[in-house]
């Protein structure tokens, strides 16, 4: 991890922006069992109809290619626990491929049916936008009972952290609807021994307008900065939280967090540019056709060149935090020394995306 960090630092000093990944994110499925109001992934909100996940053997192949490029992996979706092979995939990633840091991002609704996963993951990230079931049910587009069961599942999983050696993190999306209950989410996490990260809702890859003009939002972020300085278990560096407060531009290094789609396509250099489909990025590299990460990476680089500088095409926290930490080594060191929550979080967990 530190080797990659240092290598990237030297690359940047040579004006090379094609950085080695800190962590790869593999969307094991585009399907989801919830219907979140803010979701922009895979057609957003209607993704239950997405194509089926890859067969187990093909998904294993993708994991093996990723492993040749990084030892830190996020598995996400859609909802990854809807993938029928998820238990076997996690087991394969951890036991056979020996990913050093394995993180699973889930909505938590199916978690209790996957207890065997808990000892295999290093970090479990669960979305938790509100602890008021009625509010959350509204956000996820499901009945109140579903929201209640998710909260119960989080409480249940939190109890296994020490026993199974994983860290449980909540990721709360801040929107005008969830902002009034954000403090309660933070209190809930503190009470149950969870780390928490906050990210603003995006619309069209940009912060939702209502947040950009919300004094309440700015006040809350400033409060988070204070609380973090006082030891609250809040993920995200102070630099990142400051950026969130006013939505300031930052120098983005998207290849630190490469994305692999459910069918094996590699989004290069980043998801927003790939989606833009205007010649700056694309997904013609499929890891099913590759055996080594470096080959795929080099092909993508030769097709699309260096990741752009000065990009303000999106404002997404999953790119912001690793980019900030890469470009500000002293800030990273300070975070690590000064804030205990950051030590638990590590560089590779700043991208709950």
């Amino acid at each position: 991890m530190l080797t990659a960090y240092a290598a990237n630092w030297f690359k940047l000093a040579r004006q090379d922006r094609h950085l080695r990944p800190n962590v790869a994110i593999y969307y094991v499925t585009g399907q989801c069992n919830l219907n979140c109001a803010y979701c922009e992934d895979f057609g957003g909100r209607r993704n239950a109809g997405n194509e089926n996940p890859l067969p187990f053997e093909q998904a294993k192949h993708i994991l093996s290619v990723i492993r040749t490029g990084t030892d830190a992996l996020f598995l996400t979706g859609g909802e990854p626990l809807t993938n029928p092979h998820i238990d076997a995939l996690v087991s394969h990633a951890k036991r056979e491929l020996r990913f050093r840091e394995l993180t699973l991002i889930t909505n938590g609704s199916l978690l209790s049916a996957h207890e065997p996963l808990l000892p295999l993951v290093d970090r479990l990230i669960i979305s938790l936008d509100s602890i008021n079931p009625a509010v959350w049910a509204g956000v996820i587009g499901m009945p109140d009972e579903t929201a209640e069961s998710i909260i119960k599942n989080i409480e249940w999983a939190a109890r296994f952290q020490k026993q199974n050696g994983f860290v449980l993190m909540a990721n709360a999306v801040l929107s005008p609807e969830t902002l009034p209950g954000a403090q309660a989410v933070l209190d809930f996490c503190i009470n149950h021994g969870l780390l928490i990260s906050f990210s603003p809702q995006s619309v069209n890859n940009w912060p939702r307008y209502d947040l950009t003009v919300s004094k309440e939002y700015q006040t809350f972020i400033n409060k988070l900065i204070k609380l973090k300085r006082n030891g609250a278990p809040i993920l995200g560096s102070i630099a990142y939280l400051k950026i969130l407060s006013r939505f300031e531009p930052y120098d983005c290094y998207p290849t630190l967090v490469p994305r692999i789609y459910p069918n094996g396509d590699l989004a290069y250099p980043c998801r927003p540019l790939e989606k833009g489909n205007n010649g700056q990025g694309g997904r013609v590299i499929n890891l099913l056709n590759e055996t080594h990460w470096e080959d795929a990476w080099t092909k993508a680089h030769s097709l699309y060149g260096q990741p752009p500088r000065n990009c303000h095409s999106c404002f997404q926290q999953c790119y912001a935090e690793p980019s900030l930490m890469q470009s500000k080594p002293l800030s990273l060191l300070w975070e690590y020394v000064r804030y205990p929550a950051s030590r638990k979080g590590k560089l590779t967990t700043y991208a709950p995306g």
């Binding site: 619309v203 940009w206 307008y209 950009t212 010649g279 990009c311 303000h312």
Partner: protein, 509 residues
Amino acid sequence: MPQADPIIIGGGVAGLSAALHLAERGLKPLVLEADPQFIGGRLAGKGNLEINSWQFPLEHGVHGIWSPYRNLQAMLARHNLRPVFVPAQEELWIYREMGVVRSAPVGNAIRYSWFPAPLHYLQLFLSPRFLLTIDIRDWLRLFHVWSVLIMAVGIDPFGEDQPMEGMMLGETIRKWSPALRGFFTGLARNGLSTHAEEIPLAGFLAFLRFYTILRRDTWVFSYLPNDGGTDVCQPLSSRIQELGGQIRLGVKVVRLERAGNGWAVIADQDGIIVRFTSDHVILATDSPAAAAIIRNSFPAEAEGLSFPHGMANAVIRIWFDRQPKPGPEAGIFTGEFSLHNFFWLERIYAPYRAWNKATGGSAIEAHIYGPPEVLEQPDALLLTNAIMEIYQAYPELRGHLISQHLQRNAATHTLPSLGPRGTHLGIETPWQGLFCAGDWVRDPLPAFFLERACATGIKAANAVLTSCGKEPWTLVDYLPPEPFVGWIQSLMVKGRRRIREQKKNNPKI
């Protein structure tokens, strides 16, 4: 409360922004656009041009979307219309003196300077190519440059309503050394789209404040992946219509008349005079058109009013059958060039990328902002000179010309300035129910061009909404200055206030 749906004169970014914000609040705005074909004003697409069987989109000229364009981006994103931009990679300063051409990349040094604002330009002096471009005269005159930059920190012409009457950039920088004068006039000319002799100092200082001197990251910008019509104006127009607004093309407004408590808008549509009525009218045309409508409508009151100049320019596009040497996709020409800036289109726009991929060719767009005697040259002369100048900067392209195209834009581009106090119309006008919007409107907003058009459009919409008892929109704040420059600014503001008080108490000072 008056509930008649408002009329918006002008379908540029200001008019479309106003219309969208009104439509989102449930009103049914009617947008009247003079152009018979294209919505969007100076950001509109202009049809296609065919070169060797390839279609290339025409437009007014390349536009940058700068990171401080926060209201424009918020508006587009709210409606899922914000395209994925093409980030600017680097800008090249090409300088020619005594027939010698030198160049230095400058954009990233300014954006990513190690020095905090307002010292960030010092990063340029760490670049060997920049140092080779300047000479001893520039070192000796650095203080003059610095004094103007500091002036921009301490004086906020728009915010303070400080017109600095009679003060022009050309006069202010006359004592500067040639290269640095060339560099900053190049920046100003590209930012303000005219030559230094015509740029009011107030406009230049406001330009520096908004785009560069208060924060390093304000110089971060991107391009649209296609022409402005395709990426912004047509989607905005469709959205307005989805929300119940109407857009009518080819309606050229002639004048306004009082009609009861509201207004009658008299327009020419295909040679027929038509009349529209409403309680509220937003005048969102460019400055020259606004001046004409106001003068036709209120001849007596309009006599004392001043409107910012509209400026003409020429856009030259040249196609080559090979690529130039690798380098920045855009930049500025200064010194002995008649061209003022350039953009390698195959590195920016999707249609040119596709052509480049298929043929290996390249295409450059260059702008000429004056002076008038240059713009008055015949097409053939203007094009010939442009091609020769491009060969001077990129000699490897000699003998590889495929085609060229000259587009002359009418004098509609706003020269940012403040008229004498009380003579320059703001969003609220002396006439009840008539509001103005556009990049020419007097307003304390720090913003320029597209962002100013959008933000004044929102403010004009807010004036109508308030009048109708509806909730106005909140504008997205601009980012504050970096801490160091913010501290200098507060010191200078305090100092100026103290001097004013002393002068007030003792007029002899």
